[in-house]
Amino acid sequence: MRGAKLYIPFLLIACILAVTACSHIFSTEASLPAWHPEALGEGRVDCSECHEDQVRGVMKATATFKHSTEFIKQHRFYAARDGLLCSICHASSFCNDCHANQTEMKPPIKLGNRPDRELIHRGDYLTLHMIDGKIDPVSCYRCHGRANNEKCIRCHK
């Protein structure tokens, strides 16, 4: 059974090689800049204040990436697909305030001076998590349960 399952990555790689070969191969379009050329301040960005056209490289309207409430809540979909665009504005360390194998403190303490940010675990989360965790444990597993468990094992053996 183990052996049989190995076919998946191989199939994927074979597939990838085939497509790679077929498309001869790399796009000739210029890459995005390493850094977003314009310094942006704090707070939610509205790309359409300054852009109208499509974003090169990811081929989506700039408005798609407007940092609306909806975008911030669903950022995982964009991050898993268009990471190359996120990284022109965000260093990985920005994401690591919330996403890490091991973090030192919950984000609302590190960023106690940023109440406007959409941070997780505000207030007395040690108490609250007993309720949130029961209602929706899968949302926790995106960050805990395979990583960032140091604080949990004190009570959850």
């Binding site: 183990r2 998946i8 990555p9 994927l12 790689i13 990838i16 790679t20 498309s23 191969i25 790399f26 796009s27 379009e29 210029a30 890459s31 390493a34 850094w35 310094a39 704090e42 081929m59 309207a61 409430t69 979909f77 991050a79 697909r81 990471g83 190359l84 504005c89 965000h90 260093a91 990985s92 360390s93 994401c95 690591n96 996403h99 890490a100 194998n101 091991q102 030192e104 303490i109 106690g112 001076n113 406007d116 505000r122 207030g123 007395d124 108490t127 007993m130 309720i131 029961k134 209602i135 929706d136 899968v138 597993y141 349960g145 395979r146 468990n149 140091e150 004190r154 959850h156 053996k157």
Partner: protein, 439 residues
């Protein structure tokens, strides 16, 4: 910790020759001094004073100008009582350190070192290598491989090696489809028996925007080791008017396939045949340019056939709903908001109301904010039915790239009679060349 120091020392030594060649160096860091005094009912007061340093360096335009180096990590010393249950009063973590080569065309890049990778099914921290490029005809390809970064506490809980990739196809402005896979070798499934298996996930993802006002995001992941769907997750948003966004979400996770590789199995228990289905929707409306109101609703349906480690029944329907209002004025100098949320647990779960309100003012030089949050529980927890926390913060920009800020917070909750916390924070962001903004 020892490893962390070794890694950091190695990183810094290897950095020196690089620095000499590089055109652009930027450094960022946050130093935090916390002072926490907690009174647990029936115990003496505890005082902890941890000093934490987060530090990152980015060196750009090395060599031919396309190579760059990125490092980040943190370290902590406890100056009074221990801040964790660990033996040591110091701790640290080497979060990432990698070299990145960006090609001038095709958005092609190669990364090597320790980094995070988010591609389709994969959201991992690895020591390894990754490569990506846009191909002709709208295709894009990412592949990665290496060793998963192990946890400090439980070094056997991750596999020996990991590899994967994603192939995407884009139809400009309308559609993106992706298939991705991940294979992690020899993951310990059961620490008691030492049983191991390979972690194997495959997934498909979609972005579809047939009209400017319609956007669909979603993915379905399949666990190839247990032969079952682990997750469906979809979100649809509609913008019928420029100022109004409507959204709907649907999620479905099967614990057997979703929690399979947890290294905290007493909690994220894959052995139950449970599943969670949740769906809901929301609306946001920018009433006036600076004023946005939103409302959201979500229903959760959880079934688990075996009870968890606390031996409680975890089945039933829960609801969450609420409203929020945000007011942004004076070119974002003033940012404020107020929100109400209700989490209504299934029978047997607790429920709570949450009210939060905040306001901040940033004049460029001075920054000040106030943030209050209150939770009211339906059933008492340790004989209390509420918790609240109030945080006040003020800061001063000594230079544009150096912000000194201090927070004071006061908390009263079921676990603590009261807690007073002070945080002194120094944030710096220094770049040799002005190259715009990385956050």
């Amino acid at each position: 910790m020892k490893n962390t120091i070794r890694y950091l020392a190695l990183a810094i030594v290897s950095l020196l020759p690089t620095l000499a060649w590089a055109a652009d160096v930027s450094m960022s860091g946050t130093s935090l001094f916390r002072f926490e005094q907690s009174a647990f009912p029936g115990f003496t007061k505890q005082t902890i004073v941890p000093a934490t340093q987060f530090f990152g360096v980015d060196v750009d335009k090395i060599g031919d100008g396309n190579l760059s180096l990125h490092l980040y990590g943190w370290g902590r010393v406890d100056l009074a009582d221990k801040s964790t249950n660990e033996q040591n009063d110091t701790d640290g973590n080497f979060t990432y350190g990698y070299l990145l080569y960006r090609f001038p065309t095709a958005n092609a890049e190669i990364k090597a070192g320790r980094f995070f990778i988010n591609e389709g099914v994969a959201a991992e921290q690895i020591d390894g290598i990754s490569a990506r490029a846009n191909l002709k005809k709208g295709f894009a390809l990412t592949v990665f491989g290496g060793a998963p970064v192990k946890l400090d506490r439980d070094r056997h809980s991750k596999g020996d090696y990991i590899a994967g990739g994603r192939l995407g196809y884009r139809l400009a402005g309308i559609l993106e489809l992706g298939v991705s896979g991940l294979h992690e070798g020899n993951v310990t499934l059961d620490p008691a028996s030492g049983a191991k298996d390979d972690r194997q996930l495959v997934g498909g993802d979609i972005w579809f925007s047939p009209l400017r006002m319609v956007e669909l995001n979603g993915h379905s992941f399949y666990n190839a080791a247990t032969d079952g769907i682990s997750e469906h997750s979809y979100s649809l948003s509609l913008k019928p008017l420029k100022t109004v966004t409507l959204s709907g979400v649907y999620n479905e996770q099967h614990f057997k396939n979703y929690f399979t590789y947890s290294n905290l199995r007493s909690l994220f228990n894959p052995d139950t045949d449970g599943e969670l289905k949740s769906y809901g929707g929301g609306v946001t409306w920018a009433l006036l340019a600076p004023l946005e109101v939103g409302a959201d609703y979500r229903r959760y349906n959880r079934t688990s056939s075996i009870n968890n480690s606390f031996n409680t029944d975890n089945n039933g329907n829960s609801n969450r709903y609420g409203m929020d209002l945000r007011l942004i004025l004076l070119d974002r100098k003033v940012r404020s908001g107020i929100s109400y949320h209700r989490s209504e647990g299934a029978s047997g779960f607790n429920s709570y109301h949450e009210v939060r309100s905040f306001g901040m003012y940033d004049s460029g030089r001075y920054v000040a904010s106030l943030d209050g949050i209150v939770q009211l529980y339906k059933y008492n927890i340790f004989n209390r039915h509420q918790a609240y926390e109030l945080i006040g913060s003020s800061g001063y920009r000594l230079f544009p790239e150096l912000l000194l800020s201090g927070d004071i917070s006061y908390t009263r909750n079921p676990r603590l009679n009261d807690e007073l916390r002070g945080v002194l924070r120094l944030t710096f962001n220094y770049a040799v060349a002005n190259k715009g903004a990385k956050k």
